[in-house]
Protein backbone atom coordinates (compact mmCIF):
# COMPACT_ATOMS: atom_id res chain seq x y z
CA UNK A 1 0.00 0.00 0.00
CA UNK A 2 1.19 3.46 -0.85
CA UNK A 3 1.32 5.45 2.35
CA UNK A 4 1.65 9.20 2.33
CA UNK A 5 3.87 9.59 5.36
CA UNK A 6 3.97 13.38 5.22
CA UNK A 7 0.21 13.58 5.47
CA UNK A 8 -0.24 10.79 7.98
CA UNK A 9 2.42 11.57 10.56
CA UNK A 10 0.73 14.80 11.66
CA UNK A 11 -2.49 12.81 12.06
CA UNK A 12 -0.69 10.31 14.25
CA UNK A 13 0.62 13.20 16.30
CA UNK A 14 -2.86 14.71 16.49
CA UNK A 15 -4.17 11.41 17.79
CA UNK A 16 -1.36 11.30 20.31
CA UNK A 17 -2.34 14.77 21.49
CA UNK A 18 -5.98 13.71 21.62
CA UNK A 19 -5.17 10.89 24.04
CA UNK A 20 -2.79 13.04 26.02
CA UNK A 21 -5.53 15.62 26.52
CA UNK A 22 -8.03 12.88 27.42
CA UNK A 23 -5.60 11.60 29.99
CA UNK A 24 -5.45 15.05 31.58
CA UNK A 25 -9.23 15.37 31.35
CA UNK A 26 -9.97 12.10 33.14
CA UNK A 27 -7.35 12.94 35.78
CA UNK A 28 -9.20 16.21 36.35
CA UNK A 29 -12.55 14.43 36.60
CA UNK A 30 -11.13 11.93 39.07
CA UNK A 31 -9.83 14.72 41.29
CA UNK A 32 -13.17 16.52 41.16
CA UNK A 33 -15.19 13.49 42.29
CA UNK A 34 -12.66 12.40 44.90
CA UNK A 35 -14.40 14.13 47.86
CA UNK A 36 -17.54 12.10 47.11
CA UNK A 37 -15.85 8.71 46.85
CA UNK A 38 -16.64 6.28 49.68
CA UNK A 39 -18.96 8.70 51.51
CA UNK A 40 -21.95 6.35 51.65
CA UNK A 41 -22.29 6.90 55.40
CA UNK A 42 -23.57 10.40 54.65
CA UNK A 43 -26.68 8.84 53.07
CA UNK A 44 -27.77 8.02 56.60
CA UNK A 45 -28.65 5.17 58.89
CA UNK A 46 -31.55 3.86 56.81
CA UNK A 47 -29.53 3.88 53.60
CA UNK A 48 -26.71 2.08 55.36
CA UNK A 49 -28.88 -0.64 56.85
CA UNK A 50 -30.50 -1.28 53.49
CA UNK A 51 -27.29 -1.68 51.52
CA UNK A 52 -27.24 1.68 49.73
CA UNK A 53 -24.10 2.93 51.46
CA UNK A 54 -22.10 -0.18 50.50
CA UNK A 55 -23.39 -0.07 46.96
CA UNK A 56 -22.61 3.62 46.60
CA UNK A 57 -19.15 3.18 48.09
CA UNK A 58 -18.39 0.35 45.70
CA UNK A 59 -19.69 2.29 42.72
CA UNK A 60 -17.91 5.55 43.56
CA UNK A 61 -14.65 3.68 44.13
CA UNK A 62 -15.16 1.88 40.81
CA UNK A 63 -15.65 5.24 39.09
CA UNK A 64 -12.43 6.54 40.58
CA UNK A 65 -10.52 3.39 39.63
CA UNK A 66 -11.91 3.42 36.10
CA UNK A 67 -10.71 6.99 35.69
CA UNK A 68 -7.23 6.03 36.89
CA UNK A 69 -7.18 3.12 34.43
CA UNK A 70 -8.52 5.28 31.63
CA UNK A 71 -5.69 7.75 32.18
CA UNK A 72 -3.19 4.87 32.11
CA UNK A 73 -4.57 3.61 28.80
CA UNK A 74 -4.65 7.06 27.28
CA UNK A 75 -1.08 7.82 28.29
CA UNK A 76 0.00 4.58 26.67
CA UNK A 77 -1.83 5.44 23.44
CA UNK A 78 -0.25 8.89 23.43
CA UNK A 79 3.22 7.36 23.79
CA UNK A 80 2.62 4.62 21.21
CA UNK A 81 1.37 7.07 18.60
CA UNK A 82 4.18 9.55 19.23
CA UNK A 83 6.63 6.72 18.97
CA UNK A 84 5.24 5.67 15.59
CA UNK A 85 5.23 9.26 14.34
CA UNK A 86 8.82 9.78 15.45
CA UNK A 87 9.83 6.56 13.73
CA UNK A 88 8.31 7.65 10.43
CA UNK A 89 9.44 11.20 10.16
CA UNK A 90 12.73 10.59 11.95
CA UNK A 91 12.46 14.17 13.14
CA UNK A 92 13.33 13.17 16.63
CA UNK A 93 14.36 9.57 16.53
CA UNK A 94 15.83 9.72 19.99
CA UNK A 95 12.41 10.49 21.39
CA UNK A 96 10.89 7.37 19.93
CA UNK A 97 9.68 4.96 22.57
CA UNK A 98 10.96 1.45 22.21
CA UNK A 99 8.45 -1.39 22.09
CA UNK A 100 9.79 -2.77 25.35
CA UNK A 101 9.45 0.59 27.05
CA UNK A 102 5.88 0.93 25.81
CA UNK A 103 5.07 -2.54 27.09
CA UNK A 104 6.42 -1.60 30.47
CA UNK A 105 4.02 1.36 30.60
CA UNK A 106 1.11 -1.05 30.78
CA UNK A 107 2.82 -3.62 32.98
CA UNK A 108 4.32 -1.22 35.47
CA UNK A 109 1.22 0.90 35.72
CA UNK A 110 -0.74 -2.02 37.13
CA UNK A 111 -4.24 -1.25 36.07
CA UNK A 112 -6.06 -0.40 39.22
CA UNK A 113 -9.24 -2.40 38.62
CA UNK A 114 -12.09 -2.14 41.09
CA UNK A 115 -11.65 -5.15 43.31
CA UNK A 116 -14.35 -7.31 41.79
CA UNK A 117 -18.11 -7.27 41.54
CA UNK A 118 -20.31 -4.96 43.61
CA UNK A 119 -21.52 -6.22 47.02
CA UNK A 120 -24.79 -7.62 45.69
CA UNK A 121 -24.76 -10.66 47.95
CA UNK A 122 -24.87 -8.57 51.10
CA UNK A 123 -28.36 -7.31 50.39
Amino acid sequence: MNVNIEVQVPILRRHATFWSERSDAVDGVRKSIEPAVGQGAEFGYMAGSNGVADMYNWWSQAMSSALVDAATSFRYLDAALRSAANFYDASDATAAEGARKLDRMLEASDYKGNGGPPPLGEN
Partner: protein, 280 residues
Amino acid sequence: MADFDSANGPQSFEDFMKEMDVKIEEVRKNIADAAGTAAEALENAANGVIGTIVGLLPGESEAEKALEKWNTEIAPMIQRHLNSLKGDVTEKLVEYFGNPKAMMDWADEYTRAEASLRKSNEIEQDLTTLGFNWSGDAYVAYQTVATQQAKALDSLATTMQDGATLVRDGATQILSTWVDLLNQFVSFYGDYVSTVGSLADAGKAIGFWVSTLADMIAIGIKGVGDIAKTLADYWIQQVGNMKGSWIDVAAGGEGMPENQWPRISEGLSDVMGQSPEWAK
Protein backbone atom coordinates in the same frame (compact mmCIF):
# COMPACT_ATOMS: atom_id res chain seq x y z
CA MET B 1 -47.42 27.75 61.77
CA ALA B 2 -47.55 27.04 58.04
CA ASP B 3 -46.57 23.60 56.84
CA PHE B 4 -43.03 22.99 55.70
CA ASP B 5 -42.35 22.28 52.06
CA SER B 6 -39.21 21.50 50.11
CA ALA B 7 -38.44 25.22 49.77
CA ASN B 8 -38.73 26.26 53.41
CA GLY B 9 -37.92 22.91 55.02
CA PRO B 10 -34.63 22.17 56.76
CA GLN B 11 -31.68 21.53 54.46
CA SER B 12 -29.37 19.94 57.00
CA PHE B 13 -29.82 17.32 59.71
CA GLU B 14 -28.85 19.89 62.30
CA ASP B 15 -31.63 22.23 61.14
CA PHE B 16 -34.05 19.30 61.02
CA MET B 17 -33.26 18.47 64.64
CA LYS B 18 -33.76 22.10 65.65
CA GLU B 19 -37.16 22.18 63.96
CA MET B 20 -38.05 18.88 65.60
CA ASP B 21 -37.19 20.38 68.99
CA VAL B 22 -39.71 23.13 68.28
CA LYS B 23 -42.35 20.54 67.35
CA ILE B 24 -41.65 18.43 70.42
CA GLU B 25 -42.00 21.51 72.62
CA GLU B 26 -45.28 22.34 70.87
CA VAL B 27 -46.62 18.87 71.69
CA ARG B 28 -45.42 19.10 75.29
CA LYS B 29 -47.09 22.49 75.64
CA ASN B 30 -50.35 21.15 74.17
CA ILE B 31 -50.30 18.27 76.65
CA ALA B 32 -49.40 20.51 79.59
CA ASP B 33 -52.12 23.02 78.66
CA ALA B 34 -54.74 20.28 78.38
CA ALA B 35 -53.62 18.79 81.69
CA GLY B 36 -53.69 22.22 83.37
CA THR B 37 -57.20 22.87 82.13
CA ALA B 38 -58.42 19.43 83.25
CA ALA B 39 -56.79 19.77 86.68
CA GLU B 40 -58.32 23.19 87.19
CA ALA B 41 -61.77 21.95 86.21
CA LEU B 42 -61.52 18.97 88.56
CA GLU B 43 -60.31 21.15 91.42
CA ASN B 44 -63.09 23.64 90.89
CA ALA B 45 -65.60 20.83 90.81
CA ALA B 46 -64.25 19.31 94.02
CA ASN B 47 -64.11 22.68 95.78
CA GLY B 48 -67.64 23.38 94.63
CA VAL B 49 -68.83 20.14 96.14
CA ILE B 50 -67.18 20.89 99.45
CA GLY B 51 -68.67 24.35 99.48
CA THR B 52 -72.23 23.49 98.57
CA ILE B 53 -73.21 19.95 99.43
CA VAL B 54 -73.95 19.16 102.98
CA GLY B 55 -74.09 15.68 104.36
CA LEU B 56 -71.29 14.03 102.33
CA LEU B 57 -68.14 12.95 104.11
CA PRO B 58 -64.95 14.47 102.72
CA GLY B 59 -63.74 12.50 99.73
CA GLU B 60 -67.01 10.78 99.03
CA SER B 61 -68.25 12.93 96.15
CA GLU B 62 -67.57 11.96 92.56
CA ALA B 63 -65.69 15.23 92.01
CA GLU B 64 -63.40 14.64 94.94
CA LYS B 65 -62.74 11.06 93.87
CA ALA B 66 -61.95 12.28 90.40
CA LEU B 67 -59.51 14.87 91.75
CA GLU B 68 -57.91 12.24 93.95
CA LYS B 69 -57.43 9.94 90.96
CA TRP B 70 -56.08 12.81 88.94
CA ASN B 71 -53.55 13.74 91.59
CA THR B 72 -52.37 10.23 92.42
CA GLU B 73 -52.50 8.39 89.08
CA ILE B 74 -53.22 10.50 86.01
CA ALA B 75 -51.14 13.61 86.64
CA PRO B 76 -47.98 11.64 87.60
CA MET B 77 -48.36 9.57 84.43
CA ILE B 78 -48.72 12.69 82.29
CA GLN B 79 -45.71 14.21 84.02
CA ARG B 80 -43.64 11.11 83.22
CA HIS B 81 -44.68 11.37 79.60
CA LEU B 82 -43.79 15.05 79.47
CA ASN B 83 -40.39 14.24 80.96
CA SER B 84 -39.57 11.38 78.60
CA LEU B 85 -41.19 12.60 75.37
CA LYS B 86 -38.19 14.51 74.06
CA GLY B 87 -35.75 11.70 74.78
CA ASP B 88 -38.02 9.01 73.34
CA VAL B 89 -38.61 10.92 70.10
CA THR B 90 -35.03 12.10 69.70
CA GLU B 91 -33.82 8.53 70.04
CA LYS B 92 -35.86 7.61 66.95
CA LEU B 93 -34.59 10.56 64.92
CA VAL B 94 -31.24 8.89 64.25
CA GLU B 95 -33.13 6.93 61.59
CA TYR B 96 -33.67 10.19 59.73
CA PHE B 97 -29.99 11.08 59.51
CA GLY B 98 -28.58 12.06 56.16
CA ASN B 99 -26.44 14.77 54.60
CA PRO B 100 -28.53 15.86 51.62
CA LYS B 101 -26.55 19.04 51.06
CA ALA B 102 -23.30 17.14 50.55
CA MET B 103 -25.14 14.56 48.46
CA MET B 104 -26.52 17.29 46.18
CA ASP B 105 -23.01 18.71 45.77
CA TRP B 106 -21.68 15.27 44.84
CA ALA B 107 -24.52 14.69 42.38
CA ASP B 108 -23.65 18.00 40.71
CA GLU B 109 -20.00 16.94 40.56
CA TYR B 110 -20.90 13.61 38.91
CA THR B 111 -23.09 15.45 36.42
CA ARG B 112 -20.24 17.81 35.57
CA ALA B 113 -17.97 14.77 35.24
CA GLU B 114 -20.39 13.20 32.79
CA ALA B 115 -20.39 16.34 30.64
CA SER B 116 -16.62 16.55 30.75
CA LEU B 117 -16.18 12.89 29.72
CA ARG B 118 -18.61 13.24 26.81
CA LYS B 119 -16.72 16.31 25.63
CA SER B 120 -13.55 14.26 25.73
CA ASN B 121 -14.85 11.76 23.25
CA GLU B 122 -14.58 13.02 19.68
CA ILE B 123 -12.13 10.61 18.10
CA GLU B 124 -14.27 8.56 15.74
CA GLN B 125 -14.10 10.92 12.77
CA ASP B 126 -10.35 11.18 13.12
CA LEU B 127 -10.04 7.41 13.19
CA THR B 128 -11.79 7.22 9.85
CA THR B 129 -9.53 9.90 8.41
CA LEU B 130 -6.44 8.13 9.67
CA GLY B 131 -7.68 4.93 8.08
CA PHE B 132 -7.83 6.44 4.59
CA ASN B 133 -4.16 5.74 4.03
CA TRP B 134 -2.98 3.53 6.87
CA SER B 135 -3.80 -0.12 6.80
CA GLY B 136 -0.99 -1.90 8.61
CA ASP B 137 -1.41 -4.27 11.52
CA ALA B 138 -0.51 -1.55 13.98
CA TYR B 139 -3.21 0.74 12.58
CA VAL B 140 -5.79 -2.06 12.84
CA ALA B 141 -4.70 -2.75 16.42
CA TYR B 142 -4.87 0.96 17.21
CA GLN B 143 -8.30 1.32 15.63
CA THR B 144 -9.54 -1.61 17.73
CA VAL B 145 -8.13 -0.20 20.94
CA ALA B 146 -9.14 3.40 20.25
CA THR B 147 -12.71 2.39 19.44
CA GLN B 148 -12.89 0.29 22.59
CA GLN B 149 -11.45 3.07 24.75
CA ALA B 150 -13.75 5.71 23.25
CA LYS B 151 -16.75 3.46 23.85
CA ALA B 152 -15.66 2.88 27.43
CA LEU B 153 -15.39 6.64 27.95
CA ASP B 154 -18.97 6.97 26.77
CA SER B 155 -20.13 4.16 29.06
CA LEU B 156 -18.34 5.72 31.99
CA ALA B 157 -20.07 9.04 31.30
CA THR B 158 -23.47 7.33 31.22
CA THR B 159 -22.85 5.44 34.46
CA MET B 160 -21.63 8.65 36.08
CA GLN B 161 -24.90 10.35 35.18
CA ASP B 162 -26.96 7.37 36.41
CA GLY B 163 -25.13 7.55 39.74
CA ALA B 164 -25.66 11.32 39.92
CA THR B 165 -29.41 10.78 39.48
CA LEU B 166 -29.53 8.20 42.28
CA VAL B 167 -27.55 10.40 44.66
CA ARG B 168 -29.66 13.47 43.89
CA ASP B 169 -32.95 11.53 44.22
CA GLY B 170 -31.76 10.10 47.54
CA ALA B 171 -30.99 13.58 48.87
CA THR B 172 -34.41 14.82 47.74
CA GLN B 173 -36.08 11.88 49.47
CA ILE B 174 -34.31 12.64 52.75
CA LEU B 175 -35.44 16.29 52.59
CA SER B 176 -38.98 15.26 51.77
CA THR B 177 -39.11 12.75 54.64
CA TRP B 178 -37.97 15.43 57.06
CA VAL B 179 -40.73 17.73 55.86
CA ASP B 180 -43.32 14.93 56.20
CA LEU B 181 -42.35 14.27 59.81
CA LEU B 182 -42.32 17.94 60.76
CA ASN B 183 -45.74 18.46 59.21
CA GLN B 184 -47.32 15.42 60.82
CA PHE B 185 -45.58 15.16 64.16
CA VAL B 186 -47.98 17.29 66.25
CA SER B 187 -50.97 15.34 64.92
CA PHE B 188 -49.51 12.06 66.23
CA TYR B 189 -50.23 13.33 69.74
CA GLY B 190 -53.61 14.90 68.93
CA ASP B 191 -55.59 12.05 70.51
CA TYR B 192 -53.42 12.17 73.62
CA VAL B 193 -54.08 15.88 74.08
CA SER B 194 -57.83 15.47 73.46
CA THR B 195 -58.04 12.60 75.90
CA VAL B 196 -56.24 14.52 78.63
CA GLY B 197 -58.53 17.48 77.96
CA SER B 198 -61.61 15.26 78.25
CA LEU B 199 -60.60 14.25 81.79
CA ALA B 200 -61.91 17.63 82.97
CA ASP B 201 -65.13 15.66 83.23
CA ALA B 202 -65.05 14.03 86.67
CA GLY B 203 -67.03 11.02 85.50
CA LYS B 204 -64.55 10.31 82.73
CA ALA B 205 -61.59 10.79 85.03
CA ILE B 206 -62.90 8.28 87.54
CA GLY B 207 -63.43 5.54 84.95
CA PHE B 208 -60.24 6.29 83.05
CA TRP B 209 -57.54 3.68 82.60
CA VAL B 210 -54.18 5.40 82.88
CA SER B 211 -52.56 2.73 80.71
CA THR B 212 -54.52 4.27 77.82
CA LEU B 213 -52.18 7.25 77.99
CA ALA B 214 -49.14 5.03 77.64
CA ASP B 215 -50.75 3.42 74.59
CA MET B 216 -51.32 6.83 73.06
CA ILE B 217 -47.74 7.87 73.64
CA ALA B 218 -46.69 4.66 71.89
CA ILE B 219 -48.89 5.63 68.94
CA GLY B 220 -46.97 8.90 68.65
CA ILE B 221 -43.62 7.10 68.62
CA LYS B 222 -45.02 4.64 66.08
CA GLY B 223 -45.97 7.58 63.85
CA VAL B 224 -42.34 8.74 63.93
CA GLY B 225 -41.25 5.20 63.04
CA ASP B 226 -43.81 4.86 60.24
CA ILE B 227 -42.47 7.92 58.43
CA ALA B 228 -38.91 6.71 58.91
CA LYS B 229 -40.04 3.47 57.29
CA THR B 230 -41.03 5.36 54.14
CA LEU B 231 -37.40 6.44 53.91
CA ALA B 232 -36.23 2.86 54.45
CA ASP B 233 -38.66 1.64 51.77
CA TYR B 234 -37.28 4.24 49.39
CA TRP B 235 -33.71 3.03 49.90
CA ILE B 236 -34.78 -0.59 49.44
CA GLN B 237 -36.32 0.40 46.13
CA GLN B 238 -33.28 2.42 45.12
CA VAL B 239 -31.00 -0.57 45.66
CA GLY B 240 -33.49 -2.82 43.81
CA ASN B 241 -33.02 -4.81 40.67
CA MET B 242 -34.66 -2.51 38.17
CA LYS B 243 -32.86 -0.52 35.51
CA GLY B 244 -31.13 2.51 36.98
CA SER B 245 -31.08 1.07 40.53
CA TRP B 246 -27.83 0.87 42.50
CA ILE B 247 -27.51 -2.83 41.70
CA ASP B 248 -27.85 -2.07 38.02
CA VAL B 249 -25.53 0.95 38.06
CA ALA B 250 -22.92 -0.73 40.26
CA ALA B 251 -22.88 -3.65 37.86
CA GLY B 252 -22.15 -1.25 35.02
CA GLY B 253 -25.64 -0.92 33.56
CA GLU B 254 -25.44 -1.25 29.80
CA GLY B 255 -21.86 -0.04 29.76
CA MET B 256 -18.66 -1.59 31.10
CA PRO B 257 -19.28 -4.83 33.01
CA GLU B 258 -18.91 -4.05 36.72
CA ASN B 259 -17.56 -0.66 35.68
CA GLN B 260 -14.19 -2.23 34.96
CA TRP B 261 -12.14 -0.14 32.57
CA PRO B 262 -11.08 -2.23 29.52
CA ARG B 263 -7.36 -2.90 29.64
CA ILE B 264 -5.27 -2.63 26.52
CA SER B 265 -4.28 -6.20 25.82
CA GLU B 266 -0.64 -7.14 25.62
CA GLY B 267 -1.15 -8.57 22.13
CA LEU B 268 -2.56 -5.35 20.74
CA SER B 269 -0.02 -3.20 22.53
CA ASP B 270 2.79 -5.34 21.08
CA VAL B 271 1.49 -4.77 17.56
CA MET B 272 1.03 -1.03 18.11
CA GLY B 273 4.50 -0.75 19.58
CA GLN B 274 6.10 -2.05 16.38
CA SER B 275 6.36 1.16 14.39
CA PRO B 276 7.01 -0.40 10.93
CA GLU B 277 3.76 -2.29 11.31
CA TRP B 278 1.77 0.92 10.96
CA ALA B 279 2.12 0.87 7.15
CA LYS B 280 2.43 -2.31 5.19
